[in-house]
């Protein structure tokens, strides 16, 4: 038995699920693994370079830069999830994906909700100088 077979026999004949971080069962060999990490690394470098390069450029409309940055960041997080954490759409990865989806939902609600509420709160507040005037009148 080769060393490689031993790895997949660690869990007996269980192939129903994969733990997060495990390569998809049936994937072969170290070279395939290295290739996966290299692809992920190359994509991450590209996206990071794009993020840093777009700052201060005249290539795109200035107010669009934050939007582009967020798009690059979300793309890079996806690359990390798929190529480094091996969270993918494989059939035996369903539980991990479901947990991730719930996590994204909560994170989105916390961040978007806070910004939304605080923006409106700021917009409805009396400006600070007027507030000071009010105090002085008393």
């Amino acid at each position: 038995m080769s060393q490689h077979d031993e790895i997949h026999d660690l869990d007996g004949d269980w192939h129903g699920e994969v733990a997060p971080g495990d390569e998809h069962s049936g994937d072969s060999g170290v070279s395939a693994g290295v290739r996966g990490y290299l692809i992920g690394f190359a994509l991450s470098v590209l996206l990071t370079a794009a993020s840093f390069g777009i700052i201060g450029t005249k290539l795109i409309w200035a107010p669009g830069i934050p939007v582009a940055l967020v798009v690059f960041a979300v793309a890079q997080m996806g690359v990390h999830l798929v190529f480094f954490l091996h969270i993918n759409t494989g059939p035996d990865n369903t539980n991990n994906i479901l947990a991730l989806a719930f996590g994204i939902l909560i994170v989105g609600m916390v961040v978007a909700g806070s910004l939304w509420i605080m923006y409106h709160l700021n917009a409805n507040m009396m400006p600070m100088d007027k507030l000071m005037d009010l105090h002085l009148q008393h």
Binding site: Q3, E6, I7, L10, D11, G12, D13, W14, H15, G16, E17, V18, A19, P20, G21, D22, S25, G26, G33, V34, Y37, G40, F41, S44, V45, T48, S51, F52, I55, G56, A62, I65, P66, L69, V70, F72, A73, Q76, M77, H80, L81, F84, L85, P91, D92, T94, N95, N96, A99, L100, F102, G103, I106, V107, V110, V111, G113, S114, L115, M118
Partner: protein, 218 residues
């Protein structure tokens, strides 16, 4: 036994519509192996860590304009330093991936070597970050200067704290792998560590985008 179960299942469901994957229905086998349960549990922990960070991100985003007359991110941040930090952490994550391949083939030498590279790059990141913090505090722009800087130090510092804890974890784990070899226990521990380390890199992507690039440049 397993073959019989598979045959029975394929008679009931010849086109395998009822379940996915290459094996028979998971329920046929009883509970999942410990590796899967531990990995799943750790994944849930990491997701809850993301939720905690989302709170810090939300407060930073809300307070990023609250400089109280003090300096803003545009005046404070050195993007070149951030780019080097990002490179360190990305390379560290890649080296950790190499370590998990080495663990996969049970190669002690390559495991230890790639973990040393992982750790040194993580340490370089940490030194650069602490240097940045020390310079800010020395200039009087510490966390007590403004709400913006409080949020900045909390968010970035929390990530740095995670990296420090990860380095401690990795150091002890290297010694344990060296002493005990690749026992199932150590394999699970390594799996959790590599998930943790890659997850920290994901959080750093959000940090350099939201805090440094949007805060300083755009």
């Amino acid at each position: 036994m397993s073959a019989v179960a598979t045959t029975a299942a394929s008679e009931r469901d010849p086109h395998r519509l009822g379940h996915h994957g290459s094996g028979p229905h998971p329920g046929d086998h009883g509970p999942s192996p410990k590796r899967i349960i531990v990995g799943y549990g750790f994944w849930i922990f990491l997701l809850s860590d993301f939720v905690m960070f989302s709170g810090f991100f939300a407060s930073f985003a809300v307070l990023s304009g609250a400089t109280a007359g003090g300096p803003s991110g545009r005046e404070l941040f050195d993007l070149q330093n951030v780019a080097i930090e990002t490179a360190c952490l990305l390379l560290s994550s890649f080296a950790c991936g190499m370590a998990s391949l080495a663990v996969g083939v049970r190669n002690q030498l390559w495991t230890q070597l790639s973990l040393v590279v992982t750790g040194l790059l993580g340490l370089a990141f940490l030194v650069l970050e602490l240097k940045e913090f020390a310079e800010l505090i020395a200039k009087g722009d510490g966390p007590q200067r403004s709400a913006f800087l409080s949020a900045f130090f909390t968010l970035v510092g929390c990530h740095g704290l995670h990296v420090s804890v990860g380095l401690l974890w990795m150091g002890t784990m290297m010694a344990q792998i060296f002493a005990k070899g690749f026992t199932p226990n150590m394999l699970r521990r390594f799996m959790c560590f590599s998930l943790f380390w890659h997850a920290l890199d994901i959080i750093w992507v959000a940090v350099f985008t939201v805090v440094y690039l949007i805060g300083a440049g755009a």
